[in-house]
């Protein structure tokens, strides 16, 4: 346990939220000030997360930097924060993404301060959700996030934004209310909402299956898993670039994180009994949605489907555990699968953010997302094309980029579970390469297609900064993933150990 005496996690959560609320009231005339303040707050949160990483003890699976104050005493609900190796990387990802979207949103013209405020509040809520160690606190953050995202898509989105944002809201809300019922039921059994208490609570198999299903609906919508994914392409297409980036980079990870933090440890036997379901849905997502991505004409839609397919890897990696342990009798393979899933989530956060930003760069200039509106962009924007091609290659899992590491680990783990799992999972290497590279070919290579493309200007300084940062992250994680894996190792091992022990009450 570290000797950190000041509430670093609370600061990471509340600095963005408080700044965001203050920015809501800034008048339109002082937009420039609003942007600077927003950037400062986002950077402050990032610096604090970096500090947290520096102080983080990588040798233990225990929760660190804990803070605990009573919140609703009548129901023994606490404001309880703390992080371990599973949540820390996601909090770093959140802080990084926030800085990136604020820089990327510099050119927004309409209601600027409110735009920045919405992203800051969203970012604080997401960090709070990753750090929450009380299920009720988690749920409050989990749901409250819907409000800023609803407004971001609805106010700054594309022409069809209202359908998209209402669909997004209602899908997610629908999923999460079942989790609420499940959590309340658990509370009545355990007498506490503390995540640690719920982890230890013995439950009958039937109860575990119901709880698992209730949680699965909530998290599957968020991931999103096939067949509840249909809100995502709409939301992505209509959201402003920053909205798409946050949605893909962080919000989708919330589903995966929820499965790791709640579903698996609270209902391990339920998860073991139903792992075939999740594995099946994940494989459908990987293969079928991969084909769907191939057929897209809209760049953002293509990336959206690619996200669903890649998140299928994450859920696959998480749920291979039981089959691996059964087949090999050892926990190593399961650790590999879950670590792979976590790496895949972080890596997808970087890559999808980068791809959406690349599309945003083109959209800002040409105002079209159609693939057919482009062609030969590499001729007029060579530097941009270099970055974009790197990101799309990373998306197809090129070794040396972060996209390769997670997929490789999950496929390796899948071989220990079942050959066919690995076979279908590996199909993504072909499909991912197909849709990514085909898009690169149609948009970037070839002759200059039209006057719009001919008049394109290359990246400006702000765009350069964002692209270089993301390129470094994608390559850095690809070439040297060890620190990330090491950071997660004790927590993942602890998780695997926990979920492979039955907690059916005698």
């Amino acid at each position: 346990m570290n000797a950190m005496t000041w509430p670093i996690l609370s600061l990471i959560v509340w600095i963005p939220i408080v700044t965001g609320v203050a920015l809501l009231f800034l008048s339109e005339a002082r937009a420039a000030l609003g942007k600077m303040v927003a950037l400062a707050a986002a950077l402050a949160a990032l610096v604090l997360t970096v500090l947290a990483v520096a102080e983080f003890d990588m040798t233990t699976a225990a929760m660190q930097f804990q803070e605990k104050t009573p919140w609703i005493e009548a129901f023994s609900i606490n404001y309880h924060l703390g992080i371990d190796g599973l949540s820390l990387p996601l909090i770093v990802l959140t802080a990084l993404t926030t800085v990136i979207v604020i820089v990327a949103g510099w050119t927004i013209k309409d209601r600027v301060s409110q735009y920045m405020a919405a992203f800051l509040i969203l970012s604080g809520l997401m960090s709070g959700m990753f750090a929450a160690l009380d299920a009720m606190l988690f749920y409050v953050f989990f749901e409250a996030m819907l409000v800023p995202m609803f407004l971001i898509i609805g106010i700054w989105g594309g022409p069809n934004r209202i359908l998209a944002t209402v669909k997004f809201f209602l899908f997610t809300f629908f999923g999460s209310v079942f989790m609420l019922v499940g959590l309340i039921w658990l509370y009545l059994q355990a007498g506490s909402f503390a995540v640690a208490d719920l982890h230890q609570l013995p439950l009958s198999l039937t109860a575990q299956i119901w709880i698992f299903l209730a949680f699965l609906i909530a998290f599957a919508v968020k991931v999103p898993m096939w067949p509840v994914h249909t809100w995502l392409p709409d939301a992505h297409v209509e959201a402003p670039t920053g909205g798409s980036v946050v949605l893909a980079a962080v919000m989708l990870k919330i589903g995966g994180y929820g499965l790791v933090r709640f579903s698996l440890p609270i209902a391990p036997d339920g998860a073991a009994a139903l792992d075939w379901l999740v594995i099946g849905l994940s494989l459908v997502a990987i293969v079928y949605i991969g084909f769907v991505a191939l057929a897209q004409r809209d760049m953002k839609k293509l990336i959206a489907y690619s996200s669903i397919s890649h998140m299928g890897f994450a859920t696959l990696g998480l749920f291979l555990t039981f089959a691996i342990v059964q087949n090999t009798g050892q926990l190593d393979g399961a650790v590999l699968g879950i670590s792979g899933a976590m790496v895949q989530m972080i890596s997808h956060g970087f890559i999808s953010a980068a791809m959406f930003l690349a599309v945003g760069v083109l959209y800002d200039r040409v105002h079209s997302r159609e693939i057919s509106a482009y062609g030969g962009v590499a001729n007029t924007m060579p530097w941009f094309a270099m970055f974009a091609v790197l990101f799309f290659m990373a998306n197809s899992g090129l070794p040396g980029t972060s996209g390769f590491v997670g997929e490789f680990m999950v496929i390796l783990a899948a071989f220990k579970a079942d050959f066919w799992f690995a076979f279908f999972a590996a199909m993504t290497l072909i499909l991912g390469a197909s849709y990514s590279l085909w898009l690169v070919k149609r948009v970037f290579y070839g002759e200059v297609a039209n006057d719009n493309v001919a008049s394109l200007s290359d990246l400006d300084g702000r765009e350069w900064a964002v692209m270089v940062l993301l390129a470094l992250l994608v390559l850095g994680l690809g070439l040297w993933p060890y620190p990330l894996i090491e950071m997660m190792e004790p927590s993942v091992a602890n998780l695997v150990d926990h979920i492979t022990n039955s907690k059916i009450n005698p």
Partner: protein, 478 residues
């Protein structure tokens, strides 16, 4: 009757006296000085609150008075305090509207104070006759208030409907009371409860009596299938009266349900639980689904009320202290929230023309970002999205219902709230995503703006710091 008994009823006596004072004093104020009536009425509420706070009953204690027909306990005191608070807010909101609509008259204030008195008597009732007394006082004042604008055809129509259906409900309640009296030999709720515990009474008579009582409660609350009057009354009444009718009486009707069912008929909870379960399920479904189809904001909020009544019943039917305190929290929160929603509607009404259509909300975020934000918080709170207080209300009710074994009903409740979220989101959509149709600035007096801001911020504040109010409600049944 002793002096200490009078002291127990001091808040009621004070409010009754002040209602008369306001009625008489108003005769001496000229049209220009009508503001004094307003100030006097608000001062009456402030002093009533001070008296109630000074005489607050300790947790877990209760005292009977007037031959055991009147009870003072923590539950009643807390409800009364919120009744003053809600009515004070209503007065501030209503003044702006009544002025513009040419209805700024003293009767509004004296009738509202009489309605408050009715609520207070119901809240403190320990006998079925006291319950009836309070209920009728509240009901008669409300009928008159709905007809406040006597030249309005729709107002008179609404008042007529309200009167006829309301009287029917009162008659049904009275019949139920007489049956219970016949079976148990007492009006006093404690004695009724004891007689039931002895099990010496006629079951058939009791069953009929109980059924009539539940029907009357459902009528008053507006639970499906006894909800028909509610949308028409909300729509027909002047906005200021709708504001009042949608908020204050709910506190009294909650007390009506808890006093009669829990205090009096607690031993028959298995019977009334089943009846309330049906009423709650129907209200949740019909209220939320039909609200979607409404283009008139008052009707939309009326159906929304019906769905919230479903939630309140869900808390009551848990038949446990947790359930009652959840229902109490829900009702308090709902009446505050509902007052805020109607206040924004009044804000948008200019020159006495009511902003009745949802389209009047279009582009409010451009015309007035601050009030749009207040309305946004009110709508998300009604929809039950954390961290707004409506979520904590729903969550507690669901927890109590699950604890009592009503898991399927709880799942139904959460699913219907997802359906309900749609029409609340539509208001947010109109305010934030659409362009305004007129750009006239939104204006209101300073007191209106201040109270509305507090009301909106309360959605957030009561949510973030929900522990306090939850504790108050839990202790009321401790």
């Amino acid at each position: 009757m002793t002096l200490s008994e009078l002291q127990l009823a001091l808040p009621e006596i004070f409010v009754a006296a002040m209602a008369c004072v306001v009625l008489v004093a108003d005769l001496f104020f000229t049209e220009q000085r009508r503001g004094f009536t307003h100030t006097l009425a608000i001062l009456a509420l402030v002093f009533a609150a001070i008296i109630t706070l000074r005489l607050m009953m300790p947790v877990g204690e209760s005292m009977l008075a007037f031959s055991d027909t009147f009870v003072r306990d923590r539950f009643g005191d807390v409800l009364k305090l919120f009744a003053y608070l809600v009515l004070a807010g209503v007065f501030v909101y209503a003044k702006h509207f009544l002025r513009a609509a040419g209805l700024f008259r003293g009767e509004f204030y004296s009738l509202s104070l009489f309605a408050l008195l009715g609520v207070m008597i119901m809240v403190s009732a320990a006998s079925m006759l006291t319950v009836y007394l309070g209920l009728e006082l509240l009901a008669l004042s409300s009928y008159a208030l709905v007809a406040l604008n006597r030249d309005s055809a729709s107002g008179s129509e609404a008042a007529m409907k309200y009167f006829i259906l309301g009287s029917l409900a009162s008659g049904i309640l009275l019949y139920g009371i007489s049956l219970i009296y016949g079976a148990t030999g007492s009006f006093q709720l404690g004695e009724v409860s004891e007689a039931l515990a002895m099990g010496m009474s006629d079951d058939l008579m009791l069953a009929f009596g109980l059924a009539f009582m539940v029907v009357a409660i459902a009528f008053k609350l507006g639970a499906v299938p006894f909800h028909m009057w509610l949308p028409d009354v909300y729509q027909g009444a002047p906005a200021a009266v709708t504001l009042l009718v949608s908020s204050l009486p709910k506190l009294g009707y909650l007390a009506l349900a808890i006093r009669l069912l829990a205090d009096g008929m607690g031993n028959m909870h298995a019977d009334w639980q089943a009846m309330l379960a049906v009423l709650a399920a129907l209200s949740l479904i019909l209220g939320n689904v039909v609200a979607i189809a409404q283009a008139n904001i008052k009707r939309m909020l009326a159906y929304s009320t019906i769905s919230h009544v479903g939630f309140i019943l869900l808390g009551v039917l848990a038949a446990s202290p947790a359930g009652y305190s959840a229902a109490m929290f829900y009702t308090i929160v709902y009446s505050i929230t509902s007052a805020g929603a109607f206040a924004v509607m009044i804000l948008l009404s200019g020159n006495g023309v009511e902003a009745e259509n949802l389209d009047d909300f279009k582009g409010l975020a451009r015309r007035s970002p601050w009030y749009a934000l207040m309305m946004l918080m009110i709508m998300f709170s009604l929809a039950g999205i954390p961290v707004f207080v409506g979520f904590f209300a729903k969550w507690q009710v669901i927890a109590a219902a699950i604890q009592a074994g009503f898991v399927a009903l709880s799942v139904l409740a959460v699913i219907t709230s997802v359906i309900g979220a749609f029409y609340y989101l539509r208001v947010v959509k109109l305010m934030y995503f659409d362009e305004p149709e007129n750009n006239a600035p939104v204006t209101a007096p300073i007191d209106f703006r201040a109270v509305l801001s507090l009301n909106g911020l309360a959605m957030l504040g009561l949510g973030v710091f929900s522990g306090g109010l939850i504790g108050v409600c839990v202790r009321a049944f401790g």
